[in-house]
Symmetry: C2
Subunit: 342 residues, 2 copies
DNA sequence: ATGAAAGCGCTAACAC
DNA sequence: GTGTTAGCGCTTTCAT
């Protein structure tokens, strides 16, 4: 709408008049529906081109069809995190999954409660057909507000063990367990975990996998080998590793809750004069550029972000078609990417 | 609208019925218009709350009002760049500038021509009131397509010297000149420039500033001291610096076209056994975390991103009100942030 | 101050 | 096949 000069945007009706057909026919042509004589179709298309007609999307949604747009929402107080590879990779994956559709992807960043309210109004207002949410904290009510409004909603990750909304998640428990198994096989015995903030379910899961691996190997649990990071950043990893070295100088392996944390851990280890990986092995969860550009290269637990994005989109589109399904959960396998220094 | 169960979303009419007033009155209350008796207003508000009424935005836009949304578009083939601090900082700045409005910010990423087309349809379809564009290449027609459609459009940066669309830009020429002046004052004489891709106007401007400073100081221009990077990334900076050292081992100062490039240059310099800044001084354009976390800290030419974002939003909102203005240009001053090692 | 009525541009159901 | 018609939910005159 804006203040577009009236007349600038021709309507369906004007196209119909120029083509000498009814509005219904034009509508059919525009929406590529079958059942229009080829010759009329061409006449209409010429009229459309001549007038530079573009459908008014507001009218279209109002008339009962879909908005042809979905929102991908990031709920982070700190927008700098939005520069993290995890986010940009996810956005890319979701965008890729939508390229062949006519669905417009709308990225929205929700920081405050005010923005939360505004977004709910926007979404409930029927401007999107569905919502994808990433990085949702356990206490965030946004997903419930959307779901209650009857909006198809899909989460990346879950807020707790009994999430009542459709989500796609990586097998964080299994991934962490596998990583620790790998360390154990390598002969490591003093294995520590630098976790993410434990009010996030994803961090809890990874910690659980770590503990499972140790207990299955018959090793005693020692929580002094677990240090909680305040977030998943490099700085948090550095601080956590420093604290860990203070407690346990004898540590010979570390599982970090993210690849950025792992890089932070490396820094702290080097500052303490430790050699990696001969002296201390480091495995990071997640796997982006950072892990590749690290020297020595990090072994990582890779999340299938590409597939996570694709799956989220698939579930969302399906949910838009079949509202009778209450919710579904999909867990994707992680993959251990071993990078041993030569 | 999705497949929202009918009746889930009450309409204005139902609110009016419950409150025992006309639809017009409810509309006025919802939009906070004056001229409604305080008692009626309260009655209506109670009905709204009771029904959980939320205005249908499609209907609202259709009825002639604004969409109450603006899009911030990134046109980058490579979405990884979207993780660059320049982008996230700009997004943050624009978001901040919009927090106190009822305007929803929609971030969209446009990579291919297909996505370009889809976005234009979306925007022309009246789902946004205006468009902010960042990182537009010289040959990109998207801004023109939008402007021709009568959509208020504001660019961050310009595509050429005679941009015919409203834009906000930093004083790239002045910033580069100031940086080189600073190097000259420090006694440097063999000053090189690692530029961005020269098909981008911003890169041309920074190169021009570099040349101006040298020529004003009476130094001969020597283009073998200029190396063009393929983009603004760290890798490009590393490669450009390596090439430069091959050509001119005697170089004693470098102006890099971005802070990430500057970091890349540092790496290359160190690999070549050069000491920074005693031996070679480095100044980066732009200024984010990287510059701070670099050792030694980089001197940088800081762009006022906060103010750029604010100004873009202001211009866009104004343009939405006054379509009679053809276009406006705003250039903001940069600031040299000197960080000398102790 | 408030109700009634006329669209906004489109889709979909129904006639022909 | 194609034209006609009835809304979708809201804003906005225009009466009252």
């Amino acid at each position: 709408m804006g203040r577009r000069r009236p007349g600038t945007t021709p309507t369906l009706e004007e196209v119909a008049a120029l083509a000498g057909v009814g509005r219904g026919t034009v509508s059919r042509v525009v929406n590529n529906e079958a059942g229009v004589k080829e010759s009329t179709r061409r006449t209409v298309q010429k009229a459309i081109a001549e007038l530079g007609y573009v459908p008014n999307l507001a009218a279209r949604s109002l008339a009962g069809r879909r908005a042809d747009a979905v929102a991908l929402v990031m709920t982070e107080r700190d927008w700098r995190l939005f520069g993290e590879p995890f986010f940009s990779e996810t956005v890319r994956a979701v965008g890729d999954a939508l390229t062949d559709t006519s669905v417009q992807l709308l990225l929205t960043l929700v920081r405050t409660d005010g923005e939360r309210r505004r977004f709910v109004e926007y979404a409930r207002g029927g401007r999107v057909d569905g919502v994808l949410l990433m990085s949702v904290r356990a206490e965030d009510r946004l997903p419930d507000m959307l779901a209650e409004a009857g909006l198809p909603t899909v989460l990346l990750g879950r807020r707790s063990g009994d999430e009542q909304i459709t989500y796609v998640d990586a097998d964080n428990v299994g991934g962490a367990r596998e990583a620790v198994d790998h360390l154990l096989r390598g002969g490591r015995r003093s294995i520590a975990a630098l976790t993410g903030p434990l009010d996030m379910y994803v961090a809890q899961c990874r910690l659980r996998g770590y503990r499972q691996a140790l207990s299955r190997a018959g090793l005693a649990a020692d929580d002094s080998f677990v240090v909680e990071g305040e977030d998943f950043t490099e700085a948090a990893g550095r601080r956590a590793m420093t604290e860990l070295l203070r407690r346990h100088p004898e540590v010979d392996a570390v599982l970090a809750a993210s690849d950025t944390m792992a890089v932070g851990a490396l820094t702290a280890l080097r500052a303490a004069g430790r050699r990696v990986p001969d002296d201390v092995a480091v495995i990071g969860f997640d796997d982006f550029q950072l892990a590749e550009h690290t020297d020595p290269p990090l072994t990582t637990v890779r999340q299938p972000l590409e597939e996570i994005g694709r799956t989220m989109v698939r579930l969302l589109l399906e949910e838009m078609e079949q509202p009778e399904v209450a919710w579904r959960h999909v867990i994707l396998r992680t993959r251990l990417v071993v990078r041993e220094s030569a």
